[in-house]
Symmetry: C2
Subunit: 306 residues, 2 copies
């Protein structure tokens, strides 16, 4: 997208996670006028560094001020810009009345942060995904069923009557990253390519015998050493083992349910393939579209409140 | 141990792993005259660096030469000093005829390396543990049953008639290290202390529902955030979850079996406690004693062959 010289957005949408900061200048019809991204994620910033980081990225969009900025994600955590306390499920994914204003020095800035959700038992939390869920529901009005949000910490959420009834987080994505970059398995995973058959078999293995995960992981290394297992197969098997183990644990969420996936394209495709092998057909939504739809719903409702 | 000024060992035992190099000067009655350790593990050395690293550590023990040196561990891997090809199970854990002489420049050095074991299906490998197993069998002559060797990559081995019949490796120790040092869980695990009750409950949870491991791991983070879970409890639960999941996968090895643990004291105690909760009483052997007994059996048999 080529950015016009002057932009006068109606409001600015911000997705501020642990690793990245993304922003969109939004027009009067909800269209995206411009977008911007930096690596100033929450994880790299002390409290005083949030405002300057935001100004560096979108200072040229706010003119003389008065442009509402609505943010979601880890920016609202205790280690973030300003804590937006978790709301407790069951509840709607977002509530405009629960937005928390971030303290700012620049008088042109008006930043409000969406809180995440918590569940007491079993203990669980989310920050950012509640906005994706709200967006998914605004893209699928009246949706009842299950949302699966694959990612670093995959979430499964049961939706009924517009509320998040319960949810569960799995460390699947972080485990894949740790095992493929920092464990002994990394030696056998380097290179390009993918092996669908290896993925499918691993999903099936993990679903039928999830307790063997620790042994099946080491087998990737052993087969690399003594049987020349190809990196493309090893990587697909690692992914299949971890996703299959997640599906085994999340079975109460998807068995006999309507499932919609909200996630990055490649990862969502892998989850869709694994679920299809279990007879579950899924609908897929683009995660950025959901984030923007969720923040837009907040912007509209906040506007109505004023 | 205070080292005497001059040592004239009959032979030298070496345990050369990925992270460390350990050596023992052995006397005529099998007693330890001196020991030495450095951080020159296999993982830090290129091929030409092994001989200098060994000479730095034990050069003062070999006098004019003629002192046999017998080594086990990753030093015999393809990335080690010189490859000692895996022997295939079922077989005795060690075979003096399979020792591989390392190429040396210093004429005083005579180094032989013990090979590891491999299993074709399911694919598995070990290097170093075969020596511990041989030592355990020399400390418990006629032992038939199961050996469990907890560690970075825990091994379970079925022993019959002096042979390793089959074995299986679990990545439990490496997972604990990755999750506690490099994952999002690290935030809630810092500090001292241990919580036996939390460990016991986690072992039981993991054994009964191993497929939930990915969710139970994230719950440690969530309970830390919203319920103030103490680091001592979180660490014990992480250990219990991973050991419990391993026990669930290794059930065919221990159920109704005689089990002997060979490992570091604290880790072995945790495994013993977890197995006891399942009605399995275990015998425990010190891992260094087993390594030395295994290398000693090689030294004796090699002597007899000459």
């Amino acid at each position: 997208m080529t950015e016009p010289a002057f932009i006068t957005p109606n409001w600015i949408a911000v997705d501020w996670g642990t690793s990245n900061l993304r922003a969109w200048a939004m027009g009067p019809e909800g269209q995206v006028l411009a977008e911007a991204m930096s690596e100033d994620g929450m994880g790299k910033l002390v409290r005083d560094a949030f405002e300057p980081a935001l100004l560096r990225l979108i200072g040229h969009w706010i003119g003389g001020g008065g442009v509402p900025i609505i943010a979601c994600g880890m920016v609202g955590s205790r280690q973030g810009w300003c804590e937006a306390p978790y709301r407790s499920v069951p509840c709607t994914p977002l509530d405009p009345a629960a937005l928390v204003a971030a303290p700012t020095i620049d008088p042109r800035l008006s930043v409000r942060i969406a809180p995440g959700l918590k569940q007491t038992s079993p203990a669980d939390v989310m920050r950012g995904e509640e906005t994706q869920i709200a967006g998914a529901l605004s893209l699928m009005p009246g949706y009842d069923g299950v949302l699966c949000l694959p990612g670093t910490h995959s979430k499964w959420a049961l939706i009924s009557a517009g509320e998040v009834v319960s949810f569960q987080t799995f460390m699947t994505g972080e485990m894949f990253a740790l095992l493929s970059k920092a464990s002994v398995l990394r030696h056998g995973l380097q290179g390009e390519g993918w092996d669908d058959a290896a993925f499918d078999m691993a999903v099936s293995d993990a679903l039928s015998r999830p307790e063997r995960i620790g042994a099946r992981l080491f087998a990737l290394r052993a087969e690399g050493l003594i049987a020349g297992l190809a990196p493309a197969s090893a990587r697909a098997r690692l992914s299949g083992l971890l996703i299959g183990t997640e599906l085994a644990g999340a079975r109460p969420y998807w068995l006999g349910q309507s499932v919609t996936l909200v996630g990055a394209d490649r990862l969502s495709a892998a989850y869709a393939r694994a679920l299809k092998s279990q007879g579950i057909e899924v609908r897929r939504l683009n995660v950025t579209n959901c984030t923007l739809a969720g923040l837009s719903s907040l912007a509209l409702q906040t506007e109505a409140i004023r």
